[in-house]
Amino acid sequence: MARRHRIFARAAVIAALLLVRSTSADVLPDDRADLFYSKYSGGGMDITGESALVRKKITENLAVEANYFIDKVSGASIDVLSQASVIRDTRKQATGTIEYLHDKTTYTASYISSTERDYISNTASFSLSQDMFGDLTTVTLGYAKTNDKVGENNGTAWVPIVDWLGYAQTSSYSGGISQIITKNFIAGLNLQVITDSGYLANPYRSIRYLDSSNPKGYSLGSQVYPDTHTSTAIQVQGKYYLPYRAAVTASYRYYTDTWGVVGNTVELDYTHPIRNVWILEGRARYYKQGQATFYSDLFPFADAQNFEARDQNLAALDNYTLGAKATYAFLPDGWKFFKRATVTLDVSRIRFNYSDFRNIKYYGVPQYPPGTEPLYFFNATVSQIYVSMFF
């Protein structure tokens, strides 16, 4: 029962689309190969990720990139714990990208295919990046289309019985401007509008409503989601070079959607290199969101609203992240055909606080009538280790 995985599948694809966003339209980036391992632990879940990426220039103007990613979930999130036993599932994602540079324009096309037992997702994306005004300004436009097939596993991880419930489609439109302001300072502005339609709910989750006929005081029911969702996000960011050779980055993002969720993100990063061998980085991030209009932790009675959800993602919450990253160049000047090779360790600690999602551990506990259980919070640790080799 891969509840968390469901969201992972959709989010992964959108995140993967963003892989095409980091381009500079002057020369194509160096050839590289990366091996990546990550672990997320928090809220009762352990998720490991393994990835390999290879990028190669075929000519000076044409490069191809291939990436393979495997997520493995074990454990169960807080609200699935009450209904399911320990879950295990695996998601596999393959991405192919082509990049073509002509004069001051870079064209990028990619295809992402993601599969897990109860969720199949495919995305085709295209973007264009143009340098102008003496290469001080870069304008980027992108479009992506995703098709998903959504199912529910009514068996177990080892003997799955998947009911296919429906389809979902997503269209993403993005635009960005990057502007060099001074020889020490670059700023950026991004806008992304995403529309999805179809089966958008998570079949493993339920809502709950007050029910005096139930000894626990509440009963569970099915979530009902709208079949469309449109979101707009706008982010402004800046990067400044400090005279002793370091960089500081600040960004702010505003998010709003047709489900009533409003999110604000602030992030600050500091990058400090030590000669040509080490790069140390620290990051701090704060995120706060208001709940979706049809979200509630406890509805007053059955079928209280047309749309009902109790998905944690749609609750009112905030989170704080502190992260540190160290990159060590073990081959700073190359060796044979390697230009450079580095190993990186990145660890983040995140604290999530919910204002209107209650801790399931206390459901049905007599001293906490439904609706008075303590609010949920949890800590998560995200670790990544990867080796990057440049050719």
């Binding site: 020369v27 000076e60 003496g134 000047d333």
Partner: protein, 169 residues
Amino acid sequence: MHIANSSLFKRCAMAAIVLASSAFAAGGDAAGPAPSFTLTTLAGQPGGLGEYKGQVVMVNFWATWCGPCQQEMPLLDQMYKKYKPAGFTLIGVNVDKESPAVKELLARKPVSFPVLLDPANQVSKAYHVDEMPSSVIIDRKGQIRYVHRGYKPGDENDYQDLIRKLIRE
């Protein structure tokens, strides 16, 4: 008013055409006598354009942080060795703000043509450098004949064609 608009528009259209044209601007915005300059080498010795009167000179503006610049250096070196006996010189003008990285790069990948340092970017300004790398080809009479902006593999053939042509003059 109407005439002023149309000449403004024409001037602008001209500028656009010049900008959009090929990387070579034959006698374009950089035509005329090549500004003379004196800079120092890594070793601290003075060097400048004046030393090469009567020769065909290519002034190549490069930096340690510029990828295409590094790509063309070995090819420029080959070209220098080949045409030097015929009266050709290549001067590498480095625009890095500090010299340690230049020293370190040239120690790893040495070149035989003279390299002069322009940390204050005076020479880059005088030559109106608007792309990295830039190569300015100057004839025997000291006139700028061609300005090549950027570098893509295969450009070294274009350089050689032009150099051969100017050597024969």
